[in-house]
Amino acid sequence: MSGLQIDRLSMRFDLPNGSSVQALKDVSLDLKAGELLSVLGPSGCGKTTLLNIVAGFLAPTDGQIVLNGHQVTGPDAERGMVFQQGALFEWMSVRENVGFGPSMKGMPKAEKSKIVDHLLDVVGLQDFKEKAVYELSGGMQQRVALARCLANEPDVILMDEPLGALDALTREKMQGLVLKLWKETGKTIILITHSVEEALLLGERLIVMAPRPGRIHTEYRLPFAEMGVGQDLRDVKKHPKFAEVREEILGMIWDMEEEIMGRTEEA
């Protein structure tokens, strides 16, 4: 069985004061290989917890993750992760950062530098390969992070708000890049974001999660990612359906936030 199955996943955190928080409850999802899933939801709905469990950094209290037929029990190179920022190794050059995964596997130098050179071409950083990562701008750093993840040839790429810290223009360019890489490499991608537009643009499938306990609220199948590949994303945003779905989801999240506020006020 190929693809990624998330099977009735539950996660409960026990707090030091004796109480506990149900971060996730019965989350199930079946992703085919090569699918692009974006995850939206108000803060505290367990998006990041879900991603950390899929990455193998956290063990769920219940349920399991199955990738290509075997159960996930810990972090592994088959599931690469791109973080929001600050996860690059600043003691290494751009080239060394991108080549980190292959180095860990003990790949021969020539083969590794071929992969690194290719990926730096793809993300457009060939001229910066000997630079230190802290000399690059935020957008360039995230491109390094993408290339570093891809260098390992993972089956699944997990992205935790990878574009969250970028300015609007850079962000738009990076969204195009993510789409291009998805199409070219055929990787399964799970992308967490706070931006509804980004979720719509970068999600073949989109799930909206609800908080307390974290669960899947609504799921969409969307045409925009397919439409957007190689296109001007601003044109995609002009699509009538785009605005319609965006308003619907915004309303949904708005209601959830309202509910949280109400509950907090009651308490």
Binding site: D76, G101, Y134, R148
Partner: protein, 444 residues
């Protein structure tokens, strides 16, 4: 309660001293302000205002607008040497910059005696003030006429001399004949009068105390002149002091620091790593490290001397202990400070635990370790000098300690300057090494 009273007394004494120094401090501040006014005046004349800083209306409180003014630094250092030279009569300075010095050379004053009958007579006392260390005899003078006879005396500079001028007179104090005036000014026991070369005082028994003016310059025994310190330096650099050359003294001090520090780092860094990576080790060593860190290394000197004697081993143990805790804490916080997303990223890139240690945790902790190393080197340098002050056969601290016992203030001063220069150089070297070896410091 008695303690409080005593402490209050001490505090009072300190405050009185400070108050006495206040005019000098105010004078110094005035010099600083004067120099600033002169400097800004010159700047304004020479350059039109056009840099970005001049466009700012808010500079006071803007931290980025405050940078160290090089001119101020230079003037400040030059002024220290000028003041030093002025108050020690340095030959490196033109004479008009000298503070008034002590009186040197020949002088004289007259004293008048009055007999019980009311007769009086006057005689002259010749005074020679000569440099300390020279053997100068009192000049030969003719006795002169009358009942009072002329006298003479030789006095080393900065000293005074009690002289019984009436001893050779025809009538002395046994005959109820007393000195009543000096240079025409009346004098009585306990009083003094000013004369051309200084002051003449009369003791309670009627003996004259001749006090040549000392000026406001410092006696070499308090503060030697810059050139005296410099010649001492070249002297000791070639001849040596206490059976060791200067290079040996400083070399031994540096040797102790480097060996103690390196040993402390070799043990302390792995200890810090263990504390940062394992609950058990953290729990085991936390009480020890947290207790030992606030104990000043100097407080360990007596114990180390008891245990290991005053040889090299004792000193190196002391410096090892001084560096150990600092390095352990630096390494511990370097490990704990690693951003979890970096570790996660490495795991999801397929790194093993050992590879994460080698490629993420260690490089990530290096900036902290370098900061610790800089602190540790500073502490070690201070500790070694202090330890040598207590007991050593060679070393910078021993050199100034022994010199102080012989009142060779020039050696003490030279030693202090050298210790300062070396400490400063160590810090500069460490900073430079930091720039070369951990350029990513603070860039994470």
């Amino acid at each position: 309660m008695e303690l409080l009273g005593n402490l209050w007394g001490e505090l009072w004494a300190v405050l009185t001293t400070l108050l006495a120094a206040a005019p000098y401090i105010i004078g110094y501040v005035l010099i600083i302000l004067l120099m600033m006014v002169i400097y800004t005046g010159i700047r304004r004349l020479l350059t039109p205002k056009s840099d970005y800083g001049s466009l700012k209306t808010v500079t006071f409180g803007d931290e980025s607008a405050v940078t160290s003014n090089t001119a101020a630094s230079i003037v400040s250092i030059v002024l220290i040497f000028v003041l030093w030279g002025a108050f020690t009569g340095s030959k490196l300075l033109p004479g008009f910059l000298h503070a008034p010095g002590p009186f040197f050379g020949d002088a004289s004053f007259e004293y008048t005696i009055t007999t019980p009958d009311g007769d009086s007579d006057t005689a002259t006392v010749s005074v020679v003030v000569h440099p300390t260390g020279e053997e100068v005899d009192a000049p030969e003078v003719a006795e002169g006429d009358g009942i009072a006879k002329n006298d003479s005396v030789a006095i080393p500079v900065y000293r005074s001399e009690l002289l019984r001028v009436d001893r050779n007179d025809e009538m002395g104090r046994d005959e109820e004949t007393f000195i009543t005036a000096v240079d025409g000014q009346a004098i009585a026991p306990g009083n003094s009068v000013d004369v051309a070369f200084g002051r003449v005082a009369m003791s309670d028994k009627g003996t004259l105390n001749i006090i040549p003016s000392t000026g406001v310059q410092m006696e070499p025994i308090w503060l030697p002149s810059p050139e005296a310190v410099w010649s001492r330096l070249s002297d000791i650099a070639t001849v040596g002091y206490r059976n060791s050359t200067l290079a040996e003294h400083l070399g031994y001090s540096l040797f102790r620091v480097v060996v103690g520090f390196v040993l402390g780092a070799i043990v302390g860094i792995p200890l810090g790593y263990a504390m940062g990576l394992s609950n058990w080790f953290r729990g085991w060593f936390d009480p020890i490290v947290e207790f030992m860190r606030p104990v000043p290394p100097l407080a360990l000197i007596p114990l180390v001397i008891i245990w290991a004697g005053i040889g090299e081993v004792g000193k190196i143990i002391l410096l090892f202990l001084a560096a150990l805790w600092i390095m352990a804490i630096a390494a511990r916080s370097g490990v704990s400070g690693v951003r979890i997303s970096k570790v996660h990223a490495a795991y999801s890139l397929g790194a093993s635990k050992w590879q994460i240690m080698r490629h993420v945790i260690i490089p990530n902790s290096l900036p902290e370790i370098f900061t610790g190393a800089r602190v540790a080197m500073g502490v070690c340098w201070g500790t070694v000098v202090a330890a040598e002050l207590v007991a050593a056969e060679k070393g910078a601290g021993m050199m100034i300690m022994v010199a102080s016992k012989f009142q060779s203030t020039d050696i003490v001063l030279m030693g202090i300057i050298l210790i300062g220069i070396i400490g400063f150089s160590i810090d500069m070297l460490m900073r430079q090494a930091e720039k070369w070896l951990v350029p990513w410091k603070g860039k994470g």
